[in-house]
């Protein structure tokens, strides 16, 4: 997105550029198998990601989910990495026109485009992860990322020796903001005087920016960092290695990226979530809703790194687990005011 903005500053011959961009996009679709000529009645599923599936996080997890749908349901699948918001709608339309049964826009940012496109393709189900809008053939999928983020905050606060912890996000998307608020509340539950620094990079790709922001927080005394910045987050791990501080990974299990510096990851089990909706669509049981997927559905989890787990004292561990149990049993209400109204209105599978 950033790159395209820069393009618009520098470009002088717009029509020629548009042609170039279109050529590039269609080449990409072809390269990613978007043009596969499958049989008309096969169950076909498409995924749009906002970033590269090599990010070891949000996008990579969704791609793993797409492959799981292919492998366990025998579906024909297609993936495309979108470049700019202008392309979201076009990509949705392409898949709709090709008769895909399920098209997943992976992220809140796809929702507006999906709402515009969905009425034109009534036989295609559109699903937006982190979305909260519904239409007859449009569903949202809300990951209660904040539930496990709250638990991560509890651990971070107690393990911090400086009393300062940090959280770094790509951009301030609603789920990212909610998870950082949860992280902070979890931390303050354990240690009311803790300082939580929050920063956003304005990018999900710029590794150098991720590292610099992490170094800036570490220089302010932060010794545990929570990151939710996808590919740019790899820079935060690099800073953690260099300055020997601990981090929490996000979205996918990132414990192995820096095994001595990632204490745990707030994981969204995207394969599980995408399989769930794909099965409903295939069997005809799909109903327009906002799926609520969190600890209870087993889709969101705090996965601790076995190599560093022993640093967490037993009493803290018990406290974290009891919060988890309370969330699963519906007795936990510390985050109710943060969640968006539509989230609460949705049904739980």
């Amino acid at each position: 997105m950033l790159i395209s903005e820069r393009f618009s500053q520098t470009r002088t011959r717009r029509s020629a550029l548009r042609l170039l961009a279109a050529l590039g996009a269609s080449a990409l679709v072809a390269a990613c198998g978007g043009g596969t000529a499958g049989s008309a009645d096969a169950f076909r599923v498409a995924l749009l990601t906002p970033g590269p599936i090599s990010d070891q996080a949000w996008n990579g997890g969704a791609y793993a989910g797409l492959l799981a749908i292919r492998d366990s349901m025998g579906a024909e699948v297609s993936h495309i990495q979108t470049k700019t918001p202008a392309e979201f709608e076009e990509n949705f339309r392409q898949y709709g026109a090709q008769g895909y049964r399920l098209v997943v826009g992976h992220g809140f940012e796809f929702q507006d485009a999906a709402m515009r496109v969905a009425p034109d393709f009534p036989n295609t189900v559109f699903v937006c992860t982190s979305g909260n809008a519904t239409a007859p053939n449009l569903a949202g999928m809300n990951f209660a990322f904040e539930e496990a983020s709250f638990q991560a905050g509890m651990i971070a606060a107690q393990l911090s020796t400086s009393g300062v912890i940090g959280a770094i996000g790509g951009t301030e998307l609603p789920p990212v903001r909610a998870s950082f608020i949860a992280f902070e509340r979890g931390a303050k539950l354990v240690r009311p005087d803790i300082t939580v620094l929050v920063a956003y990079l304005g990018t999900w790709d710029d590794v150098a920016a991720g590292k610099e922001q992490a170094l800036a927080q570490i220089a302010r005394g932060a010794d545990i960092l929570f990151q939710n910045a996808d590919a740019a987050g790899l820079g935060i791990f690099a800073a953690a290695r260099e300055k020997n501080v601990l981090t929490f990974g996000a979205n996918a299990n990132q414990n192995d990226i820096a095994p001595d510096h990632v204490i745990g990851s707030v994981v969204i089990d995207l394969p599980r979530a995408l399989l769930l909706v794909a099965r409903e669509v295939e069997s005809g049981a799909f109903q327009s809703t906002v799926y609520q997927l969190g600890l209870r559905a087993g889709v969101v989890n705090l996965v601790l790194n076995p190599r560093l787990e022993s640093r967490i004292p037993a009493d803290l561990r018990a406290r974290v687990d009891s919060v988890g149990t309370a969330i699963i049993e519906g007795r936990f209400h510390d985050m109710d005011d943060v969640l968006r109204p539509a989230d609460r209105a949705g049904t739980s599978p």
């Binding site: 790159i3 903005e5 393009f7 550029l17 170039l20 590039g24 590269p52 620094l197 610099e212 170094l215």
Partner: protein, 311 residues
Amino acid sequence: MITPLDDFLAAAVRTATPLALAALGECITERSGVINIGLEGAIICGAFAATVTAGAVGGSSGVAAGFAAGAVAGVLVTLLFMLFTVYLRADQIITGTAITLFALGLTGLLYKTVYGTTGVGLTIPTTGELPIPGLSQLPVVGRAFFAQPLVTYGLYLVVPLLAWWFARTHAGLALRATGESPDAALAAGVQPRRVQALAVLTGGAFAGVAGATLVLAQSGTFVEGMSAGKGFIAIAIVVLGRWSPIGVAGAALLFGGASALQYLFQSLGWREVPYQLFLALPYVLTLLVLARASARAQAPAALARRELTLG
């Protein structure tokens, strides 16, 4: 004793280093009358080649080999741009844009080919800081300027050298003449095509090294699209630095400083201020300085001109 000021200045120099490298290369290119919008593409190719090479060779010799590979990759992708613009006289803006799009796609494809579709959390050895004894002990500027990776020290040499070369050597004069008036240069016995070709390729090498710096001296990993617009910032820095090496280095440092200020402000925890204001800071500052400077700025007269000579 490390003060917050030390941290801020060090971050400024770190952030400025790859920008200054790419911008100095672009400065050479533009002084010959060619504007290379494909700079971003050369940076990402340099970053990828450095990653693969440093990973394959390993160790500290791997880092050196990585920088060399970065420069070579920058030259190779720019060679394509050079053939189209210098010899076929295609439109420079369109060709450069195509090169950038091509390079971003190509590196993504190669990354997936080499490291698997879903990639790996690559960890590449980095050069690390190499404090210069004595100089790094200086108050205020010591740690910021003299406890940096080797590539930054290279810049300290290249900048004055380039300024001298532009102003005082026959070759430097030939380059500037080509950018100002190819006809006059031709009449004076200079071969404008050859000068432009060499200038463009040199710019590509600089951009490739800038990409290698991102990987080998900073992040220690490769991510698709990690150039993240730095090539375009570098082009703006050339204008800001008014096409002079010293000016370009200063402009890069200014932008690096504004970015570092942004990181510092966010880490101070002022929740009331929207973070977007901080993120906009480097760009707003650049715009302000640019607005003041542009009255006196003079681009090479033949910049981006398609027809090389009138005769």
